[in-house]
Amino acid sequence: MSDIRLDQLTHSYGETRAVDNVSLSIAEGEFYSLLGPSGCGKSTTLRMIAGFVTPTSGRILIGGGDVTRLPPERRDIGIVFQNYAIFPHMSVAENIAFGLRLRKVPRAEIDTAVEGALAQVGLSGFGDRYQRNLSGGQQQRVALARVLVTKPRILLLDEPLSALDKALREEMKFWIKDLQQTLGITTIYVTHDQDEALTMSDRIGVMRAGRIEQSGTPREIYEEPASLFVTTFIGQSNVLDATYAGAEGPRAAAMVEGRALSAELSHALPRGSAAKLVIRPENVLMGPEAADRNLTQLPATVIGESYQGAMVRYRLRLGSQELVAERQNQAHLARWRPGETVTVGWDPGRARLLPAD
């Protein structure tokens, strides 16, 4: 059963439609990420769920009940803000006790719960500190403890890692995910960082200009992108100009540089229409690796090579277009120099034909 359901949710700030007809269902215990570029409406969506922004139209259901008109304090939701929002005039312990006091929990129980929450986030002994004496990562943990101690039904996180430095971000990424899994709490995580979304999420909703462009598991989002935007926003993709030449069994035939190539097709396209053939750099094979007859094979010229340690990146010319290949840097694999010609190839199942944007 779905725990959160958004039904045609829309919000306009005056003329701008910050969130445009968003519908989605999130299952109980699921870790769902809203991923998209700055200004695409992620925070506005989250703030509508939390109850700080009133939808222009549409409904929000939590556990089957309509909460669209409920004030924030009656939604049973915990939210962690980008700036953590630790109350500066209260100690860490008082911050964590805030929600419990409101729930009229007896004094002794509050003290035990606060200790427990501090231990859970690895901050035992920090109860008497104040916000100004905490690092960003510690504030982050306090904010989580403060929310989790009230055992909310839903956890909302708005770019919780973006204010931390890179090393801490990596660490907190796994820590938050572990905590979420241990508690089994339904979570919506807002981020513009694809790595965070891919590693942490059960499912991702990719947002663009107020709409959810694609919603699916990290694997689906990465390997079966529904649009050119998704495939270029998440990871890197080679985007080749192509023309749709019609169906070819379960796949599509596309004309690229005068050759008929086959690719996966997820959108119906009119025959003869301009389209894009999309292939990830790590799926472009070269030389002996591309020798298999079942692969799409093309002659190409190496025009650039850049060494990246574990990887070597090749820039390749394919007729009038360019292509990037990323190969493992391993002793048994061949290397090419700029100017050399090489056969490139890929599994047609890895190539996708998408409508031009």
Binding site: E73, N83, A85, F87, F98, G99
Partner: protein, 301 residues
Amino acid sequence: MAELALSEVHGRRTGGRRLRPTLWWLVTPAILFFVLFFLIPIASLFAISFDKGAQGVITFQGNLTLDNFARIFTRSLYYEAVWRSVWLGATVSVLCLIIGYPLAFVIARTLRPGAALLLTILVLASMQLDMVIRLYGMMVLMGDNGLINTALMKVGLISAPLPLMYNSFGVIVGLVQVTLPFMILSLVGAIKSINPSLEEAARSLGSTRWHAMRTVTWPLSLPGVYAGTLLVFALAISSYVVPALMGGWKVVTLPIHIYQQIAEVGRWQFGAAIGVVLFGTSLLAMAVYILALRRQAGGRM
């Protein structure tokens, strides 16, 4: 003065950088002006308050005496005036806070910037018009034959005019009208500097709007509350025009005494002594307030 007092309350001091010598000439005009038109007059008033009384003489004669102060402190008339001034100042501060806080909150937190700007302009506009004109306007409203009394008598709610003016009530209303913008502006600044997600965090932890305001917004806006109340108190206790016009000389505060001594009887020495007492009263009242705050904050600030 309020500003100084505040940095005391919070014990917060910004480590100032040394001014480069080449920049001194930039501040020279201001310093000269301050010395000439503030320090010298105030210092000479202070000096003549210790001079032997001589009608019409306004320069320092050097006949040192404490007679002026002895006279003040032996007459209940002046004790009453001191008490009246302090009481009026405190009442006006509290009223301004009660009336001003909700409005300041709305201005600081209103969602649309346009509406906030409009309210701020209204507050500022009410400060633009000369105080005397505003007070005469209030007299038209509140006098015995004023709009309020005439209207109430017409509908038959009262048979004789209500005493709205020429008493403490009138003075308090007048002082609140004059000082409220100062309170609102210092509160708006303080509330605006509070991160709104703190209130939102409180809300989703279970606070009602009112509870979040009481437990988060209010304590965090206290610096503005202190600044506003001190400012209003200082303005109210030293106001002469408002008690004169709205009190009709019947609400006798220290500034009224000063005016009477100097402008009407020409006893500059005695008037100056009352001025010194007013200044001392003001400082003492603020010191008490600040100490009380310190104690209440338990050294946390």
